[in-house]
C-alpha cells in the first residue's frame, strides 16, 4: 500500500508539464484521431491544423498566433473527458473542439459546461443541443446533422422518383445511426413512401450479403443509408453483388469523392452539404496547394470540413479580440457570420439561440459516364 505514494510521485514527475506561455489563443481539440471511426475525423483535424498554420503564417488573429492543441481520444468517452479536463485546466484553452464519435459528447459537454468554456463540434455530427433554442455554450460547423439530412434526402428521392417509392433503410448498430434511420422511416411514411425494410447492421460484420439479401428480398426501389461510410458503402456493394440495380442514396462523408470514382455507380447518390472538389472552386485549389505543401497524408478532397471549422474559429477569435477569455469568445460566437467561400451553399450564421446555422444547403452528386456530376444544386432549408 505504501507503494501508491511512490507511484503518485512518479506520476507527478511524468505528467506535470509546464503550462504553455499565454501569448497565443489556445484552442484545444479532443478527437478520434485514431481508432476504428477515425477515418471520418482525422482528415478534418489535419485540415484544421493546416488552416491554423496558414493563419499563423499570415500573422495570426489580432496580431496573436493561434495555438491548436490536439488530444487523441480514440473515440473513447473516458479519454475524451480526461482530455477536455486537461485542455481546460492545464492548457487554459479558451475554446474546446470536439471531432469525435457521438459517445464522447456527453462527457465533453459536462466538462466544458462546468468550466464555462465554449465547445465547437467540428467534423463530428451536430447534436440537437445546437439547434434552436441552443444550449449557450455549444456550437457546430459540421456539414451533417441529424433529421435535416434525412429530410433533404427524402425530398431528393421524392423529387427524383418517377412512380411510387418503396424505400429500404440501412443503419449501423450504433445509437446515433439507428436513431436517424428510425426518424427517416417515420418521415418517409408521412411523405407517402412505403418503407419496406430496415437493416441495422452491427459494426463488425464479416459479410454484408446476409443483410443485403434481406433488404433486396423486401423489394425496394430506393435504399437510404445514414451511417458511417463503411456501412453505407458495403451495404451498397453487397446489394449490387446480389444484382439489385435500383437507386441508392447515402450521406456524403469525407470519403465520398474518392469513393464515387472508385465505385463508378450511376445509381449511387451522395447527399452532401460541402461542395466536392470536382467543382474546382478557387478555395478548393487553395486547400489542395496547402495540403500538398504540408505533405499531408490525406487527400485534399477530405479536407473541406476541417477547413470550414478553421474559418469559423478564425472569425470567432477575431470577434473576441485580445486577450480572449471564454466569455468574450462566447459573445463573439453568438453573433457570427462565416463566409465559406463556396465550400458550402451559403455562410454559416450563428445567433443567440441558433448555434447551428440559420440556413442549411444540400447538394446531391453521383457518377455519370466518366466523372462525378451534380444531380441537384444547392437546396436550402431554414432552421427553426
Amino acid at each position: 500500500m505504501l507503494k501508491r505514494t511512490l507511484l503518485g510521485a512518479i506520476a507527478i514527475c511524468a505528467l506535470t508539464i509546464p503550462a504553455s506561455a499565454q501569448d497565443a489563443y489556445v484552442v484545444g481539440l479532443t478527437g478520434a484521431l485514431t481508432g476504428p471511426p477515425s477515418s471520418t475525423y482525422a482528415p478534418a483535424v489535419d485540415a484544421l491544423g493546416l488552416y491554423i498554420d496558414r493563419v499563423n503564417a499570415a500573422g495570426g488573429v489580432n496580431g496573436k498566433k493561434i495555438q491548436l492543441i490536439l488530444e487523441d481520444d480514440g473515440a473513447q468517452p473516458s479519454k475524451a473527458a480526461a482530455n477536455t479536463k486537461k485542455l481546460i485546466t492545464q492548457d487554459k484553452a479558451v475554446l474546446i473542439l470536439n471531432a469525435s464519435l457521438s459517445s464522447t459528447y456527453a462527457p465533453v459537454i459536462a466538462e466544458t459546461q462546468a468550466a464555462g468554456v465554449p465547445l465547437l463540434f467540428a467534423s463530428s455530427v451536430c447534436p440537437k443541443s445546437v439547434y434552436p433554442p441552443a444550449e449557450p455554450l455549444q456550437f457546430c460547423t459540421t456539414g451533417f446533422a441529424a433529421n435535416y439530412d434525412s429530410q433533404a434526402t427524402l425530398d431528393f428521392i421524392k423529387a427524383r422518383a418517377k412512380g411510387p417509392v418503396k424505400i429500404g433503410f440501412s443503419a449501423m448498430a450504433i445509437p446515433l445511426s439507428r436513431g436517424e434511420i428510425d426518424y427517416a422511416e417515420n418521415l418517409s411514411k408521412e411523405m407517402g413512401m412505403t418503407p419496406v425494410d430496415k437493416e441495422v447492421i452491427p459494426p463488425p460484420t464479416a459479410d454484408y450479403t446476409s443483410f443485403a439479401t434481406k433488404l433486396k428480398d423486401a423489394g425496394p426501389n430506393w435504399v437510404y443509408s445514414w451511417a458511417p461510410w463503411v456501412t453505407q458503402v458495403r451495404t451498397l456493394e453487397a446489394l449490387r453483388k446480389l444484382g439489385w440495380q435500383d437507386d441508392y442514396v447515402a450521406w456524403g462523408h469525407l470519403e465520398a469523392e474518392s469513393e464515387l470514382s472508385r465505385l463508378k455507380d450511376g445509381k449511387f447518390f451522395v447527399v452532401n452539404s460541402n461542395a466536392l472538389f470536382q467543382e474546382a472552386l478557387p478555395i478548393h485549389k487553395e486547400i489542395e496547394e496547402a495540403a500538398k505543401k504540408a505533405g499531408s497524408k490525406y487527400p485534399a478532397a477530405t479536407m473541406a470540413e476541417g477547413w470550414i471549422a478553421g474559418m469559423a474559429i478564425e472569425a470567432a477569435l477575431k470577434g473576441a479580440g485580445w486577450p480572449a477569455d471564454p466569455a468574450k469568445l462566447k459573445a463573439s460566437m453568438e453573433n457570427l457570420k462565416v463566409d465559406t467561400k463556396g465550400l458550402r451553399g451559403g455562410p454559416i450564421e450563428w445567433t443567440k439561440d441558433n448555434h447551428f446555422r440559420t440556413k442549411l444547403y444540400y447538394r446531391v452528386y453521383t457518377w455519370s459516364g466518366d466523372k462525378i456530376s451534380r444531380v441537384q444544386d444547392w437546396k436550402s432549408y431554414d432552421v427553426k
Binding site: 476504428p36 463488425p204 463503411v230
Partner: protein
C-alpha cells in the same frame, strides 16, 4: 438459394479462420487470441506487396502469403517459444498482448482508413449468377474453394504427412513425443505458420472482396464460437461448427432481427458449453486424479 450461398460463404469465412484456432490449440493447448490480428496483418501485407510488385498481382499475392507464413513462424520463435511450459493462461494473455501490438502497428503503418487491396492490385471482383438466382462474387467463390482446399490439404497432411503425424503426436503427449525424438519446437513453429497461413488467406480474400480496416479482427472473434462449438481440437468439428454458427446467423438475420447476429453466436456457444463443454467433436478432458 441466395440464403444458402450466404450461409456457405459465411461458413467458409468462419471455418477458414476457425481452423487456425484449432491447429494451434490441438498441438499446444494454447488459444491464439491474436489470430484475428494476424489475419488482418495478412490482408495488409497484400497492400504492402502490391506497391512492391506493382503490376504483378499474382506475384504480390504469393509474396503476401509467404510473408504471412514467415510471420507465423517468427511469432512462435520470438514470442510463444518463451511461453512453452508456462501457465496456459499466461500463454493466452501473451497472444492477447501480441494482438494489441499488431493492431497498434497496423494503424501506425497503414492508418485506420478503409483500404482496398483489390484496387491496389488492379484486379476486379465480378459477380456470377448461379442457377436459382443466386449471386456470388468472384473472391467469395475463391474463398469457398480455398477453404475446401485448405481443409482437404490439412486433413491429408495430418493423416499421412510425416510432419502431420508428428504434430498429432505432439498434441497428444508432448513429453512422450519429445522423448521419441520429435522436434517439439519445430512442430509448434509449423503449427503457428500453418495457422497464420490459413488466417491470412481468410483475411486476404475478405479484403479482396470488400476491403480492409482496423476492425477486421473482430470477425475472427466471431469465428471463435464456431471452433468451440465443433470442439477446439477437431478440424472436422470446426467445419461443422462454422456451418452451424453461420447458418444460425444468416437465418436469424433474415427471419428474426439482424441485431441479434452479434449476440447469437455467443448464445449458441453458451448453450453448447452447458450441454457439451468439449464441443461436438472435441475430446473430453480427463478427470482429476488424486
Amino acid at each position: 438459394m441466395q440464403l444458402l450461398i450466404n450461409i456457405v460463404v459465411l461458413a467458409s469465412i468462419y471455418a477458414l479462420i476457425a481452423c487456425g484456432y484449432v491447429l494451434i490449440y490441438r498441438v499446444s493447448r494454447v488459444l491464439n487470441l491474436a489470430h484475428g490480428e494476424l489475419m488482418m496483418f495478412g490482408a495488409y501485407l497484400v497492400l504492402a506487396c502490391s506497391s512492391l510488385f506493382a503490376g504483378h498481382p499474382v506475384m504480390a499475392l504469393c509474396a503476401a502469403v509467404i510473408l504471412s507464413i514467415v510471420t507465423g513462424a517468427l511469432v512462435y520463435i520470438f514470442l510463444m517459444r518463451k511461453m512453452t511450459g508456462e501457465m496456459v493462461l499466461a500463454a493466452i494473455l501473451t497472444t492477447v498482448a501480441l494482438g494489441i501490438l499488431v493492431r497498434g502497428v497496423v494503424v501506425l503503418v497503414w492508418s485506420s482508413q478503409q483500404q482496398y487491396p483489390a484496387q491496389a492490385l488492379g484486379i476486379s471482383n465480378p459477380t456470377f449468377t448461379l442457377p436459382g438466382d443466386g449471386h456470388i462474387s468472384l473472391w467469395s467463390l475463391v474463398l469457398v474453394l480455398t477453404n475446401l482446399a485448405a481443409y482437404g490439404a490439412l486433413f491429408g497432411f495430418l493423416r499421412f504427412g510425416r510432419w502431420g503425424m508428428r504434430m498429432r503426436a505432439a498434441g497428444q503427449n508432448p513429453l512422450l513425443a519429445a522423448q521419441r525424438g520429435i522436434n517439439l519446437h519445430g512442430v509448434y513453429a509449423l503449427a503457428w505458420s500453418l495457422s497464420t497461413l490459413t488466417g491470412a488467406l481468410a483475411g486476404i480474400l475478405m479484403a479482396l472482396d470488400s476491403g480492409v480496416t482496423g476492425s477486421m479482427p473482430v470477425i475472427a472473434l466471431k469465428a471463435f464460437p464456431a471452433a468451440l462449438v465443433g470442439g477446439l481440437d477437431s478440424l472436422g468439428g470446426a467445419l461443422i461448427g462454422a456451418l452451424i454458427v453461420a447458418g444460425a446467423e444468416v437465418l436469424l438475420i433474415y427471419y428474426v432481427d439482424p441485431l441479434l447476429s452479434d449476440v447469437v453466436p455467443f448464445l449458441v456457444l453458451v448453450a453448447m458449453l452447458f450441454v457439451r463443454p468439449w464441443g461436438l467433436f472435441g475430446t473430453r478432458e480427463e478427470l482429476d486424479r488424486v
